[in-house]
């Protein structure tokens, strides 16, 4: 169990920084996937489909 010490500030900053970095990375990956899916949906709504795609199918990440 963690106990109180003067060095705990370094532990807090390290975990906070890694938390922000990790959630930032997750958010960036998720937003990129959403952006690409939205672009594909827009193109398909315009009637542009891959030749191999089924008429009603829509890919998603």
């Amino acid at each position: 169990m963690i106990t109180g010490s003067a060095e705990n500030i370094f532990i807090v900053w390290a975990y906070a920084g890694i938390g922000i970095g990790t959630f930032g990375l997750i958010g960036w990956v998720w937003l990129s996937a959403r952006r690409v899916n939205a672009r594909l949906k827009t193109l398909e709504a315009q009637g542009i489909r891959r030749r191999s795609a089924a008429p009603a199918s829509g890919p998603s990440a």
Partner: protein, 259 residues
């Protein structure tokens, strides 16, 4: 029919799974279960790190920074290893998914390397009395971050993704020279870093009370990388599809305009 002909007709399990179409099919249902397992392992790892592991007799409570620093340092090199294998896949086997895997891994590897440097600096201050020292391990890890950033910039510099893939693959293979330097820097030069204490010929030099949270967090971060890599690869494949469709749409408009 000969055995060779049969082998040519039937690709092995890896080739089947790594075909872009098959990859899109099997990877989607794998994402949620993988996300769930990753969250559970992270929760267990953090519980061990804060509530079920002792302070170190030398470093005191700051040893808890090890549980986030070492996994990120491990991933900084592991992800680069994945990129090296993918680069070989691009150059040697011209596998259609290899450059997708390499391109998607680069930003993840860069982030893990940056987080390893950040947490290392915060661990170094109370342990060594300094945030940064130009020693072999830290400098070669900083060089690895620059290699990652260079590779990301190179991917963005080309419109032709096939050409970019071949050039980036060569650069990635050259950059791989930095990995053994990072690994053996603690043996080759005088450094503030301690020598290898996990993977040694005589086994780990750490007590199980510190190893258990460390390995749990390493598994958690590795699972997170696998999850994010799968999602990024899917996004890259779909992004290329969208680009192709966009070009088709532009060509269609040009044809209509000309008529």
């Amino acid at each position: 029919m000969t055995d060779t002909a049969t082998q040519l007709k039937k690709p092995n399990w890896f080739s089947r799974l790594a075909h872009p179409g098959a990859f899109m099919s099997w990877s989607r249902p794998a994402l949620w279960p993988l996300g769930l397992v990753t969250s559970v392992v992270f929760a267990i790892g953090l519980w061990f790190a804060f509530f079920n592991s002792p302070a170190d007799y030398q470093m005191g409570e700051t040893v808890r920074i090890m549980y986030i620093h070492v996994p990120n340092a491990w991933l900084s090199q592991f992800v680069y290893g994945i990129m090296v294998v993918a680069s070989l896949g691009t150059l040697v086997w011209r596998h259609p998914l290899a450059d997708v895997a390499a391109k998607s891994a680069a930003p993840l590897g860069a982030t893990f390397t940056a987080m390893a440097l950040f947490s290392g600096a915060l661990w170094g201050r109370p342990t060594w009395g300094t945030f940064w020292e130009w020693d072999g391990r830290m400098t070669s890890t900083l060089i690895l971050l620059f290699i990652y950033l260079g590779i990301i910039a190179l991917w963005r510099a080309f419109d032709d993704q096939l050409r970019a893939a071949r050039i980036v693959a060569v650069v990635t293979l050259v950059g791989a020279l930095d990995i053994p330097v990072i690994k053996f820097s603690v043996d080759w030069w005088n450094t503030l870093h301690q020598p290898a204490s996990i993977i040694t010929p005589t086994g780990p030099k750490m007590p199980p009370s510190l190893l258990t949270p460390l390995f749990t967090m390493m598994i958690a971060f590795t699972l997170l990388f696998v999850l994010l890599h799968l999602v990024s690869m899917r996004t890259e494949i779909l992004g290329r599809r969208a680009e192709t469709l966009g070009r088709q749409a532009a060509a269609k408009l040009a044809t209509v305009g000309a008529a």
